[in-house]
Symmetry: C2
Subunit: 364 residues, 2 copies
């Protein structure tokens, strides 16, 4: 069996013990709340990890893009939700092909214009597409405001070719909260707002089967809100430096790291590793900026990145030598996974698995 020192750096490692524990814990959280878990596969884009999530009890998977859904459908996943406002006739035709092969498919919508195109393609094929209305509970990205949901839902429910399955949101604003109590408050607002919107729609005679929330920091508290039926966290399988900074988890709950080599120590206060923005991404640490990666067992962090260099400001008596290998906890695991063609599953020093990032680059 290969060992860590057999791998060329930089390389992405996934600690298999931590991965499976993260998957099991979130599955148990959902089960204990009687909430359906539909993990977001955009984090990993790996078929094998999706399979482990389903085996642990996930009802199906969420994906961000139609092309991701195609990869998972091809591999036999049969219940997918494209949690994104899908727009355009070309994508509608691809969704139609997906609907033919999947047991269950739903896609996000947040405008009548966008939904009308989907409806037209499905109606013409005498098919019905399940849609979920995106509601904005404070992120200010996509989605209708809660006070506009009833009007939009009513118009969607009238479109032949579509069936409104429910409503969904993503309280990504939790990533900007500097204290764990702030994240919890966002999560409670997320769950309770969605439950209230669902009640309002039902009072207006609009069926709402699914009330879906999700984001790793807010998942557990949002699932606890009465009326929530589904949760879609993604990052929890890996966790990362931002989740630690947010208080979502501890360092030992982080499954994904980057193994890198020190290639230069040009000054006493500077060391450089072979992992730059093409390995770690330029995503900032959240909720507050704080470099581009924490180095296991050291106080020093990567403070500057170029494409193939990570520059460490050497601090606190740390020393680095040329040729030494270090493990880096990245700020944002989801974008790291998407930069690499393959990941290595490890347990201590043993390399037990090599996985293709099957849906890598599937952004269309």
């Amino acid at each position: 069996m290969r060992r860590l020192h057999d791998l060329e750096t930089p390389v992405v490692l996934v600690d298999l013990g931590v991965l499976d524990r993260n998957i099991a814990r979130m599955a148990e959280s959902a089960r204990s709340r009687s909430v359906r878990l539909r993990p977001h596969a955009k984090t990993h884009k790996v078929l094998e990890i999706g399979r482990r999530q389903v085996e642990a009890g996930a009802a199906g998977l969420s994906v961000a893009k139609t092309s991701e859904a195609e990869v998972f459908a091809e591999a036999g996943f049969d219940d997918l939700f494209v949690a994104y406002p899908v727009v355009g006739a070309d994508k509608a035709r691809r969704l139609l092909a997906l609907a033919e092969r999947l047991r269950r498919l739903a896609v996000g919508v947040d405008s009548v214009e966008g939904a009308a195109t989907l409806a037209g393609v499905f109606r013409e094929a005498n098919r019905v597409l399940d849609v979920m209305l995106k509601v904005d509970v404070g992120l200010q990205r996509v989605g209708v405001l809660p006070e506009r949901a009833r009007e939009t839902a009513g118009r969607l429910a009238d479109l032949p070719g579509l069936r409104l399955r429910g409503i969904f949101t993503h309280a990504g604003q939790g990533y900007h909260e500097e204290r764990p109590e702030g994240v919890t408050a966002v999560a409670r607002h997320e769950g309770s707002t969605m439950a209230a919107v669902a009640d309002e729609l039902r009072r207006a005679g609009i069926a709402v089967e699914e009330v879906s929330v999700g984001s790793t920091p807010t998942a557990r508290a949002a699932m606890a809100q009465p009326g929530v039926t589904e949760c879609r966290p993604g990052n929890y399988v890996y966790h990362d430096g931002s989740q630690v900074a947010l208080g979502t988890c501890a360092r030992e709950d982080c499954a994904l790291t980057v193994l890198a080599t020190v290639v230069s120590v040009p000054a006493p206060d500077r060391a450089v590793v072979d992992a730059g923005s093409k390995t770690l991404s330029s995503d900032p640490l959240r909720p507050r900026p704080g470099g581009y990666g924490q180095i296991d067992g050291r106080r020093s962090r990567i403070q500057r990145l170029s494409e193939e260099h990570g520059v460490i400001d050497v601090e606190g008596g740390d020393t680095f030598r040329v040729g030494e290998r270090v493990r880096i906890l990245p700020n944002h695991a989801c974008v790291v996974s998407n930069l690499h063609d393959r990941l290595f599953g490890v347990r201590d020093e043993a390399v037990e698995a090599e996985w293709r990032v099957d849906a890598r680059g599937r952004v269309f």
Copy 2:
């Protein structure tokens, strides 16, 4: 022939007319200065673009990583420089395999420790590896300081298994200069410092065949410095928002854009496109931050990114509608190219080529 409207979004477009003009102009700049051009292929990672650079007169290519060199060597490129301090016995063995097949190969070094490992592997195989000593002319990334170059070069020249071909630098600090005069001053310092280091080494009896500089903003002024023999710009084939902001080029010299679709207009002051950090990267605009992408024909910019969403702050009377397609000039073309498996070569509305990003993800 396919047209633009046949492509699924988001997708990376390369304007073929602009690409070929950029390649020709830089080749002419180098020719007129009698400087060897060795373009950095990390920008595009596309075999066909490398071929066009060589056909236009490039002496060979630069790459950042051993794995990139392997891709270009496999395709028949026979003169490569790995412009990076390559460290470790595993990579040394791969370089040995490359040296067997290439007409010319050189790699960067900036420490005797790193070089000694390479030397050991080549000496044992009775081969000699050309190395270039990296000199830091102000970026404070890797490389020896000019005043330390003689000592390090002397020790490198004594290592059996290696031949010191010359010295190289990258004045990336030019990307932080807010005025074009500042960039020019960096370039002059780059070229003149390197020429002075070369003279000092020669006076000490150390042969210096190559004095190599490079970076797109500083390329033309650095090439003009007496004593410079080689230049390694990379980004110039595409250019990008940062090059426009730095004054290196105009918008019409930018070959790479991202075609995206407006998927949501949830508020009068906000529109969202289907291109986020997995399409555009999170790299900031340089020299000053300024959003994550300029939209052709509009004043509004993408001001926030999540993985699959680009959020436009709508300004100056701009309007956007759901389903509309827009072309985005990214901040940093090199990282955009590396996110995608393929690029489409276009001329006006015609799609003339589809290229694999052959060395995408080759960071090791």
